[in-house]
Amino acid sequence: MTKPKTTHFDTLSLHAGAKPDPATGARATPIYQSASFVFPDSDHAAALFNMERAGHVYSRISNPTCAVLEERIAALEGGVGAIATASGQAALHLAIVSLLGAGNHIVASRALYGGSHNLLDYTLPRFGVATTFVDPRDIDAWRSAIRPETRLLFGETLGNPGLEVLDIPRVAELAHEHGLPLLVDATFTTPYLLQPFAHGADLVFHSATKFLSGHGVVIGGLLVDSGQFDWDGGKARGKFPTLTEPYAGFHDMVFAEESTTAGFLLRARREGVRDFGACMAPFTAFQILQGIETLPLRMARHVDNARRIVAFLAAHPMVDAVGYPELPGHPDHALAASLLPKGCGAVFSFNLKGTRAQGRKFVEALKLFSHLANVGDAKSLVIHPASTTHFRMSPADLANAGITEGMIRLSIGLENHDDLIEDLSRALHAAGKA
C-alpha cells in the first residue's frame, strides 16, 4: 500500500526551511545582514507592501535568515508557520497583543517563569488586560476562572521551577469548549520532547535562548501557530475581531479570510512585529539555526545526564524533594509518562536540607555548575529561585508557585555525568560542613 512520505524530526532539524544559497552555493544558511531588500520595479514594490506578492521588504518585518529559522521551528512543532522575535518575552507579548485588547482577560498557570508572571501580573493590567492565575493541575480552577471576556489560556509544558506537567489535552479541550485558544510556553521541552500541537495546543512559543540554541550566546524567541484554531467558528465567533474584522491598518484586510490556516501569523507579523518592532536579528537567527541542527542529539544527552543526576540527588542524605516528574513520587508522574515519554527535560529543582547559609555554601562550592540566571545552556547551571528569578513574588505567591526558600534549580548540561555528579557531591559535602 502507498504510504505518505514522512521526513523525520532529525532530518527536519538539519534541513527544514533551508537550501543551498542559489546565488553562491553556500551550504550553510547565509546571514542576510541587510536592513532592506531592493525592489525589481515600482509595481513589484507596491505589490509587496500590499501583500499581493510574497517576499522581504524590511528586516523588522521579515528577513531571509530569520525565515529559515521560522520554517524550521514550524516544521519541528508540526505547525503552519512561525515568527522569530527578539526574545521569548517578545514572543509571549506578540501572541497576547495579536489577540487581546483592553477589557480582555487571560487564565494562566500560576507556575510560570518569573518574567512571564511579571508581564501578566504587573504590566498588562496597565493596558487593560487582566490575568487570573490558577493551579495548573486543577482543571476545575481553569474552568471556573474563565469569564465572558477571557480570550486566552496559557501555561508552560513544564512549570517553572516545580516542573508541573501541563495536562495539555485536558486544558486544550476546556479551552476549545469555550471557543478559546491554548498558548503554551514549550521552552523547557522543545519539540524533541513534546509537540504541544499534537495534544491540542493552538499556539506555542519558545525562548530560543535556551535548549533550541543550546549555546547560551543569543537572546531570541519563536512564536509558532498550529493553524488548527478556527478563529471565526463555533464559540470563537466574535471573540477575535483582530483576526475576523477588517483592519484599517492594512487596507481593511480580514486576516482570517486572507489565510484560513495562518491568519493569526499574518496579523502578528503585519501589525505586531511591524508596530511593536521586537524582531530577531539575522545573526541571532543564524546562531539558533546552528543549535537546532543538533537539537535531537543534545536533548537526548541533556535528558540522560539529568536522569543520572536526579537519581544521585534523590539518594543523597542532604537532599529532599527532588522535583522530577519521572520520579514515582512526583504528582505528575503518570501524566509525564503519557506526554513526555522521551524525558522531562534537564531543568529541575530540589530542596537542600539545612540553613540558608548552607544553601549559599552549596552554590558557591560548585565548580562546573555556573551560578547564573539562565537554563538550557550546553553547560550546567545553578540558581536559587527565591532570591533571583522569582524575587518579586510575595511569600504567599512563592508558596503558591511551589517555591521554597531552600529550593535549588539546576539546568543539566552536556558535560560528562560523572564529572557533574562529582561536582555536586563535593558541594553537598561542603554545605554539610558549613
Binding site: A18, H56, N63, E71, A74, E257, T260
Partner: protein
C-alpha cells in the same frame, strides 16, 4: 462577499474590495479539499489592479454551506449559477486542479459567460489512486498526508516558502484537515470520474492558458498534454521545479503568467 446560491450560503474572497460592475472580473476556483485561501496572493493582486477578483469557496468547502458537489459538471453548473446570483455578466475563469476541470466544463457549456480560461495543474483523465480514494472515503488522515506529499515538488517538501515564515506542507496539511467529512472524497470522485475534458476543450472559443508544474506528481503535466492540444487557442506556461501546489510553491511565477494572460485582453488600470 456572501451570497446564496441554490439555497446555500456561499463565501467568496474579494481582496477586501467591493465588486464593481464597471470592472472585468476574474473568478478563481480552488481544487479538491481546498478553499479560497489558496488564491489570496494572486487574487489580492488583481483586486487591486483593475479587476474584480472573486475567489469562491465551493459548496461544502471553507466558509460556504451546502454539500460538496458530486461531479465536475455539477460544479460547472454551480459556477454559472453563482455568477448569475452575484450579477457578474462575464468572467475570466481561473481554476486549479479539480477547479481547472470545472472551469473548463463551465466555459464549454456557457461560452457567453466566460472571457478567458486559465487552467492550473490540469490533467485529463485526472485519475485518483485507489489508495487515496479509499482513505478519503474513510475520512482517514492518511488522505491528507498523501495529497500533501504528492502536491509539493521535492525541493519544497523541505521548505523555502516565498511567504516568509510559512511552512508550506504544514499549511497544506492543516487546510486539508479542515475539510468536512465526506467532502474530500466527493471532490476526488469528481476528478476521477470526469471524462469529458477533451471534448469540452474542443468547444472552447475564448483564449486559454495552461500553467503546469514540471515536477507535478499529483496531476503530471504529461497527462495534461492531450487536453491542452484540444484547446483551439491555448498558451502553456511550464514552471520548472514546481509541483501541483503551484500557487503556494511559486506564487510570483503564477501571478506573472496570469498577468500576461489576463491583461492581454483586459488592460491594466
Amino acid at each position: 462577499m456572501r451570497a446564496v446560491v441554490a439555497g446555500s450560503e456561499v463565501y467568496a474572497y474579494t481582496g477586501s474590495r467591493p465588486v464593481d460592475a464597471a470592472l472585468p472580473t476574474v473568478l478563481f476556483i480552488h481544487g479538491a479539499g481546498n478553499d479560497h485561501s489558496v488564491w489570496t496572493l494572486q487574487a489580492r493582486y488583481f483586486a487591486h489592479h483593475g479587476f474584480n477578483a472573486v475567489a469562491v469557496d465551493l459548496p461544502g468547502h471553507g466558509k460556504s454551506g451546502g454539500a460538496a458537489l458530486a461531479s465536475v459538471e455539477a460544479i460547472a453548473g454551480w459556477i454559472r449559477d453563482f455568477v448569475d446570483v452575484v450579477s457578474i455578466d462575464k468572467a475570466a475563469l481561473v481554476g486549479h486542479s479539480l477547479g481547472s476541470l470545472a472551469a473548463l466544463e463551465c466555459a464549454a457549456r456557457h461560452p457567453e459567460r466566460v472571457s478567458q480560461l486559465a487552467l492550473l495543474g490540469p490533467a485529463a483523465p485526472m485519475t485518483v489512486s485507489e489508495t487515496l480514494l479509499d482513505a478519503a472515503q474513510r475520512n482517514d488522515h492518511v488522505a491528507c498526508e498523501l495529497i500533501t506529499g504528492w502536491s509539493y515538488s521535492p525541493g519544497k517538501q523541505i521548505g523555502g516558502s516565498q511567504v516568509p515564515g510559512l511552512w508550506l506542507t504544514g499549511n497544506a496539511l492543516r487546510l486539508l484537515e479542515r475539510t468536512k467529512p465526506g467532502v474530500l472524497h466527493a471532490d476526488l470522485v469528481a476528478c476521477n470520474q470526469y471524462s469529458a475534458a477533451e471534448a469540452s476543450a474542443a468547444k472552447i472559443r475564448c483564449p486559454a492558458l495552461a500553467i503546469v508544474g514540471a515536477r507535478d506528481l499529483m496531476a503530471p503535466s504529461k497527462n495534461a498534454q492531450r487536453l491542452i492540444a484540444a484547446l483551439p487557442d491555448a498558451k502553456v506556461v511550464t514552471i520548472p521545479d514546481c509541483g501541483h501546489a503551484l500557487m503556494a510553491e511559486q506564487p510570483d511565477a503564477v501571478l506573472d503568467a496570469l498577468r500576461a494572460f489576463l491583461y492581454s485582453v483586459s488592460p491594466a488600470t
